[in-house]
Amino acid sequence: MSGGATTETTTAAPPRPQKHISGRARAERRLGWMLCAPAALVMIAVTAYPIGYAIYLSLLRSDLRFPDETEFIGLSNYVTVLTSSLWWSDVWHTVFITVVSVALELAIGMVLALIMHRAIFGRGAVRTAALIPYGIVTVVAAFAWRLAWSKAEGGFVPVLLGFDTDPLTSTSWTYVVAIMAEVWKTTPFMALLLLAGLALVPDELQEAARVDGATAWQRFWQITVPLMKPAILVALLFRTLDAFRIFDSVFIITGSTQNRGVETVSILAYNELLNRLNLGLGSTVSVLIFVCVTIIAFLFIRGFGASLGQQQGGS
């Protein structure tokens, strides 16, 4: 390689600088790849390999209780799962929790972001307070909510609100508690992402609109929100994908009652894999969750492309 380069430099003078740069560029390229290789290899090893293995397992009849009956059965696990009402009701529970909590988080998170952005005092303190729910272990947060609402475990809420029965034995109240726990825990993250977006909205624009007589409400919807659209989309993407995988909080909140009316797809996969030890069906559910998450991400990114294109066109 280097020999070729030197002969060229001796014969033709003009391309020399370019050849020189490409030699350096090649070294830079190699160094870049070498530095990224360990991280890239680990990421592939810990995700691509297991997901490939999960796909393989999903094509088997594989039940750890009956190891001798393991055999290749093609797509029939998928037929079993996709024709079962349990899968579809769990998909519905998950979608419901995701949509309601992300919508609430967006609304409350926007208010919180505006407070953190505009407050005339105490901004640092508010930020600290908001980060505490974010930092708390999800299982701990879920226990705080469950123990507050569970009549059987001595929560204060049933006493305060005068419940005759345990609210956590009712499916609709369990939804309320699970969604509140989720919203409490993750709204700060949403708010911080939105706050970063708010910081990009120029103050002069707000000022100009105020001078022109726009009310605060008009300024919010017609200046702040359109300019924040990319930040809002990023926040929604992160939170929707995260909420769709919801496991910890629902698992803990329904832990004492085993209420399957709020079972989510991740919990279904867990039960199939680790309680029923059915690796084939459990992996099928896992692969389907992976597909769902991919579809959600794909839809969002198409939305992004459109909105970013619009932004660039406008500016």
């Binding site: 870049g32 307070a129 705080a144 496991f247 991740s266 680790l274």
Partner: protein, 278 residues
């Protein structure tokens, strides 16, 4: 007129801040109050303890299940953080400073993997770990933790590294510093805050994991705190572990609160760096 409206504004913000404080901190206050109830009165349905006691705390620290879990959680989260930050720092340095094809791909892949549902790989790992002897070991958790710690670290660090004025390094070399001196005296101090912030975030994520912990561990050998709390036995077969759960919850929350209080500004910078500039 002016003074009146400024006063009204102060009242408005005071109320707004008060609402935020109460809603952010009330559940923490409740679990702390619950943990301080006398074990006999844990189930009394009152917000505040009628009889204060530290018995729940002495109870959990007497149980191996909790002390072992605390040790496992700390060890596993620290090692996972260290590995992820070292590997990610190399990659992020390359992404920020060098020009090579595929660097966008690394970032996109990191982002895609960050969105990955952990439950999707629990089955294969459970099967695999049991056959290779990694089930219920520290390594058996540290390895899957790379699926979320590494992408987070790469993303956050490359956002931080992009902000570093790398020309300073050359300037120092022009002024007579050796490359190593330039790196140590100029680049390390500039990069350290970003690396440190990333480490805090990664640690919080690893400390938080539950899905892998309950699926891939079963005993005190490797069970982490979230898994241990969810499996707490009552003091006897007929008593509920509510008091122990509350006390354990407070114990694992304290380090997080301390970190948040000290590093609040950095955590915010780290959380938003990756998301906005990426």
């Amino acid at each position: 007129m002016e003074g009146q409206s400024a006063g009204r504004e102060r009242v408005f913000w005071s109320i707004a801040l008060l609402i935020v404080f109460v809603s952010a901190l009330f559940p923490v206050f409740w679990i702390a109050s619950l943990s301080l109830k006398d074990p006999a009165t844990v189930g009394d349905g009152r917000l505040l303890p009628s009889k204060w006691s530290f018995e729940n705390y002495s109870g959990i620290f007497d149980q191996d299940i909790f002390t072992a879990a605390l040790r496992n959680s700390l060890g596993i989260a620290l090692i996972a953080t260290l590995i992820a930050v070292v590997l990610a720092a190399m990659a992020a340095y390359a992404i920020a400073r060098l020009d090579f094809p595929g660097k966008r791909l690394i970032l996109v892949a990191a982002l895609a993997i960050a969105m990955f549902p952990p439950i999707s790989i629990v089955g294969p790992l459970y099967e695999l770990w049991r056959s290779v002897g990694l089930y219920d070991t520290w390594a058996g958790l540290i390895i899957p933790y790379m699926t979320f710690t590494l992408p987070l670290a790469i993303y956050t660090l490359s956002a931080f590294f992009r902000e570093i004025p790398w020309e300073l390094e050359q300037a120092a070399q022009v002024d007579g510093a050796t490359p190593f001196q330039a790196f140590r005296k100029i680049i390390v101090p500039l990069a350290a805050p970003g690396v440190f912030t990333t480490a805090i975030l990664v640690f919080i994520f690893a400390w938080n994991d539950f899905v892998f912990a309950i699926s891939l561990t079963s005993t005190e050998r490797a069970q982490t705190v979230p898994a241990a709390i969810s499996a707490f036995p009552g003091a006897s077969q007929f008593s509920q572990p509510t008091g122990s759960i509350a006390a354990a919850a407070v114990v694992v929350t304290i380090p997080i609160i301390i970190m948040v209080l000290i590093f609040q500004r950095r955590i915010v910078a780290g959380l938003t760096a990756g998301a906005v500039k990426g």
